[in-house]
């Protein structure tokens, strides 16, 4: 999408938001802030799910990766072509020698390049900002893997058995972190967030970036946080603190 086009969309979006969010009295809005939805209610574009990862709390531990594998029944990769939903990236400042470790998964961009290039419409962004692959439509061409600047997607080369009933996945399709959409839809946190808290680190916060009262929005408003490759203008929903 060109910048001109994006600006126009944003302007229209602001208009819609101004109309939709009419303030009745101070603090009383026509719409309620995000809460757990009813099962028959569709995901709403008022919500923007995101993660804030505090790299100062993150060390060599791999609790998030292991929890992700358990939750989504992804086997530990034995070859570099095997699926991988989260990976730990080591960053080193060459001057000071200070090292950081950060989990990198699908960044759930607002303007996802994987969706732009997908020839079938299988790659899509849900109303609440979660970027997913519709495996019913995916033809396994892997354009999205090439387009993703975060190397977040992988291809399933081999037939699978024993999938999690909530996480269907199989041979011939591209896949990536779903932000544990099956848990989020039921009002739970993604598995990596839960595991990080259980490991006593609390380095990952999950929440609605659009809700000013959510912990993630407060922290984003208070502390400096960065998006990886912010220069690309993709506006990822995953933000990092301390890198």
């Amino acid at each position: 999408m060109s910048d001109v086009n994006r600006g126009r969309r944003q302007f229209i979006g602001w208009g819609a938001a101004a109309l939709g969010g009419l303030t009745l009295a101070p603090g009383v809005m026509l719409f309620a802030p995000a809460q757990a939805r009813a099962p028959e209610e569709a995901a709403s574009s008022r919500v923007r799910w995101g993660l804030l990862i505090d790299t100062t709390q993150c060390d060599g531990c791999t609790a998030c990766i292991e929890a992700c594998r358990r939750e989504n029944h992804v086997a530990a990769p034995s070859r570099k072509t095997d699926p991988q939903w989260i990976r730990k990236v080591e960053l080193k400042d060459l001057r000071s020698g200070k090292t950081h470790s950060a989990p990198v998964m699908c960044q759930h961009c607002e303007h996802p390049p994987c969706v732009d290039v997908c020839p079938t419409g299988a790659s899509f962004k849900r109303a609440d900002g979660i970027v997913l692959v519709d495996r019913h439509i995916c033809i396994g061409c892997r354009y999205c893997m090439m387009a993703c600047p975060y190397k977040a997607r992988s291809f399933v080369h081999e037939a699978l058995t024993d999938q999690n009933p909530d996480v269907p996945r199989g041979k011939g399709c591209v896949e990536s972190c779903t932000l544990c959409v099956h848990r989020v839809d039921r009002g739970r946190n993604p598995a990596c967030v839960e595991a990080c808290a259980a490991a006593g680190r609390n380095a990952i916060v999950f929440g609605d970036l659009n809700d000013p009262n959510s912990e993630i929005a407060k922290r984003v408003a208070t502390y400096a946080s960065t998006q990886i490759r912010a220069d690309l203008g993709l506006n990822p929903g995953v933000r990092y603190q301390g890198i």
Binding site: R70, H73, A75, D134, G170, H182
Partner: protein
Amino acid sequence: MIVALTVAAAATAAYADAGRVPTPKIVIEKGGKCVEDVAVMRRNHMEFLKHQRDDTMRRGIRSTKHSLQQCIDCHASRKTGSVVGSNENFCQSCHAYAAVKLDCFECHSTKPKAAAAAGTAVAKGNP
């Protein structure tokens, strides 16, 4: 010729032999009322599933009335814990009879949610 006859005999054994035309032997497991009439389900279950799949996948609607998980929860075989795998299991009994390929379970779990909770998706390896 003898081989062909034996194969034919083995194939028909899985079906109930009431009357001249063999019909599939369907084990429903959990009785009671289905989410729609049986006749409607027999003809239209694929449409219901497809509609529900798009609603769930694209819009995050997770009502259970027409969800595949719900089918499996009621109809998985008590013996094998699955809806496919043998011609006596719910989905496969009809699909094998009608010779309609069943693609769902290349990605979807064949087991009820509780039974499939443990375990890791295992690569079968290339043939």
